[in-house]
């Protein structure tokens, strides 16, 4: 990052959105530098989708302001739309059109020139050139997502908004998908991607964590972990994973979660945490302090804020 004069692709302040009496997005401020991948995290119902929809003009914020790609997100929503690719949470291409037809439709809607060439190129890039005549509905989950990504980027947007693009997709397909996202970012595209997967969060340049409609953590993965002030102990040995229930009730323990046969116990008060695990500092258990993972941090963050059940 260049703190001197950052070139913000997304620069929005104090966004608010309510549905009825539910305050879904509460004073959210997000800045993402051009060409970077920002992971957008938070529990279900925390306002991630609503925020993404406000950024691409699908929803009008109740208050707040800002710019995307230098255009006002409210007054110049049309200009933002033209330069933004948006991929919805649910597969939302036409299942009864073929792969090629879906791409051609998008190409026409955006009034693209050299349509045939662009569609062919996208199919080539996807590796779907030989299956161009296949109905989109018959693709597997991973391929569907890659097709949706190809469609969302067909008009060469400068900003890409992805709403949980890899939910329900197998690990190999997820990796391929993320390789493509990184390739796109390398070409200068800015990406804001919401996800629940920690490995994906770690693949982002930076992270924004939203909970209960509020942005509560921002920065690189390392910054977020450091800012959490979390201390984590790793316990192993036969039956260590079964200590979770007892430990989570102990004072000073904020989270205790089993990882296979091992357990991670985290808290922000070192003295209290050590006191809590003291009774178990005996055979057959072995304890060691480890750097907290992003997941430890997020579970702690989630535990602190009330889940906003939709």
């Amino acid at each position: 990052m260049t703190p001197s004069s950052p070139n913000w692709a997304i620069d929005v302040h104090g966004l608010n959105k309510s549905f009825g009496d539910k305050h879904v997005v509460n004073d959210v401020t997000i800045q993402v530098e051009a060409g970077r991948i920002c992971g957008f995290l938070g529990p279900n119902g925390s306002g991630k989708t609503t925020t993404l929809r406000m950024l691409c003009g699908l929803l009008t914020p109740d208050s707040g302001s800002g710019q995307a790609l230098g255009f006002d997100i409210i007054r110049e929503a049309e200009a933002v739309k033209l330069r933004t690719g948006y991929m919805t949470q649910k597969f939302s291409l036409y299942e009864d059109l073929t792969i090629a037809e879906n791409l051609q439709f998008t190409a026409r809607v955006y009034g693209l020139d050299r349509r045939r060439e662009r569609v062919d190129k996208a199919l080539e890039r996807l590796g779907l050139a030989s299956r161009r005549g296949q109905l989109a509905g018959t693709l597997s989950g991973g391929w569907k997502q890659r097709l949706a990504l190809a469609t969302a980027t067909l008009h060469e947007p400068k900003l890409l908004l992805l709403d949980e693009p890899t939910a329900g997709v197998d690990p190999k397909a997820r990796r391929t998908f993320w390789d493509e996202i990184h390739a796109l970012a390398a070409e200068g595209l800015t990406v804001l991607v919401s996800t629940h997967y920690m490995d994906e969060a770690e693949r982002c340049h930076e992270i924004a964590y939203i909970s209960y409609g509020r942005l509560i953590a921002r920065g690189t993965a390392a910054q977020v972990i450091a800012a959490s002030g979390l201390i984590t102990f790793h316990g192993e040995g036969p039956g260590a994973d079964k200590l979770g229930h007892a430990l989570s009730k102990a004072p000073g323990v904020e989270t205790a979660a089993a990882f296979g046969a091992a357990i991670h116990v985290s808290g922000s008060d070192r003295a209290a945490l050590e006191a809590a695990i003291l009774p178990y500092r005996r055979e057959p258990y072995r304890w060691s302090e480890v750097p907290p993972t992003l997941e430890d941090v997020f579970i702690q963050l989630m535990g602190r804020s009330q889940d906003n059940i939709p």
Partner: protein
């Protein structure tokens, strides 16, 4: 036998019932449809219409003429709404459909009655819908015996009992043989177009919303009018093909007269197809699921069939039902189609119906545009 469990049936039953009550529109429709059906069938529909608008051309002003008019009135079938001054004016009134009957009392009527010289009363009926006129025509049979009963005295009265003082000549105009198909087949054009076009387009936006493609569509630079025009254009083709098929079959299989009025007919078809599509689009912006869209379309189709004059004579309905009927585009479209094919009406005779269709198109399109959301708010 495989073990059937009442409890498991109950589980499905309870779930089904809960889902049913949760869909408020479906629930409302299930209750509203019988109420609407019963009201329409029970109160609005009358296959023996009375008080039909009638024009009279009295070529003599005599006691007999006045007695005739009041006898016709007393039969309850005829309401005299206009006095024509010439045969041409009378003809125009019946061609335009302003009146159902045109009565001509010839200039020598009294003289011939007095002389017992085959006096005639001419009654022309607009028989495009045979069922609308049959009751009234039947009632005319009793007219010669009663109409002049009080006027004929002395020798004339004696004669009146032996031979009838005059005869009634009935002309069933536009459909002299009272062939029902002449009325039903052109009417079907309106019903079939409504059925397919309204229902098909009612699903168009709802389908996108249900499948989630709407969100993608909204995130593109597409304007509402572009979406509407693009979505509806294919159905305009469907409508035109259907029209061609129906008209071709009407002419070849049913020998429905094709009397002309092509300009008005074309304008009517164009407006009606556009209006039906716009209405379908409007429904699809209101309905939240494809099921609801289907039900709303059905709710529109029902009065289109019952209150438009398609199945039952329009003039047989009470005033309130006629008001509802006037608000339904099928009513006006039927008049244009029947008027063109059977009566050879010119565009000058049809401008009212065409204007009504045009107004419907404008209002519904404006509503649909206003309802179409360019955001998900």
């Amino acid at each position: 036998m495989i073990g059937l469990s009442l409890n498991r049936v109950l589980a499905v039953l309870i779930k089904e019932f809960k889902q049913l009550t949760r869909d408020r529109v479906t629930y409302a429709m299930m209750l509203a449809i019988p109420v609407v059906q019963l009201t329409l069938f029970g109160y609005a529909i009358n296959s023996d219409p009375r008080h039909l608008p009638t024009a009279v051309l009295a070529q003599e002003d005599s006691r007999y003429a006045r007695s005739l008019v009041s006898a016709l009135k007393n039969s309850d079938y005829f309401d005299f709404v206009a006095q024509a001054r010439s045969p041409a004016e009378l003809d125009e009134m019946i061609r335009r459909g302003e009146v159902q009957f045109a009565v001509t009392i010839p200039g020598d009527f009294s003289r011939r009655v007095a002389r017992g010289d085959q006096a005639q009363l001419l009654v022309e009926a607009d028989a495009t819908d045979p069922s609308a006129t049959s009751g009234a025509v039947a009632a005319l049979a009793a007219l010669p015996d009663q109409a002049l009963a009080h006027d004929l005295t002395g020798a004339l009265a004696m004669r009146g009992q032996a031979v009838k003082p005059f005869e009634v000549i009935v002309h069933r105009r536009y459909n002299p043989e009272a062939i029902t198909a002449y009325n039903i087949v052109p009417g079907l054009l309106g019903i079939i177009l409504s059925l397919t076009l309204v229902m098909m387009t009612a699903l168009s936006v709802t389908r996108e919303t249900e499948r989630g493609t709407m969100e993608t569509l909204l995130a593109t630079p597409l304007e509402p009018l572009e979406v509407m025009a693009g979505k509806l254009a294919p159905y305009v083709m469907v409508g035109l093909v259907q029209t061609a098929i129906i008209l071709a079959m009407a002419a070849t299989l049913f020998h429905v007269p094709m009397s002309g009025g092509w300009l008005g007919l074309s304008a009517g078809i164009g407006l009606f197809i556009t209006g039906s599509l716009a209405l379908g689009f409007l429904i699809s912006t209101v309905a939240r699921s494809q099921l609801q869209a289907m039900q709303m379309s059905f709710f529109y189709i029902l009065p289109s069939i019952l209150l438009s004059g398609f199945m039952f004579p329009f003039r047989g309905m009470p005033a309130w039902a006629q008001w509802i009927g006037e608000a339904i585009p099928v009513t006006h479209f039927l008049r244009v189609v029947r008027g063109s094919l059977l009566k050879g009406q010119g565009i000058g005779d049809q401008w009212r119906e065409l204007a009504a269709l045009g107004a419907f198109v404008c209002v519904v399109t404006a509503l649909a545009m206003a309802r179409y959301r360019r955001t998900l708010d």
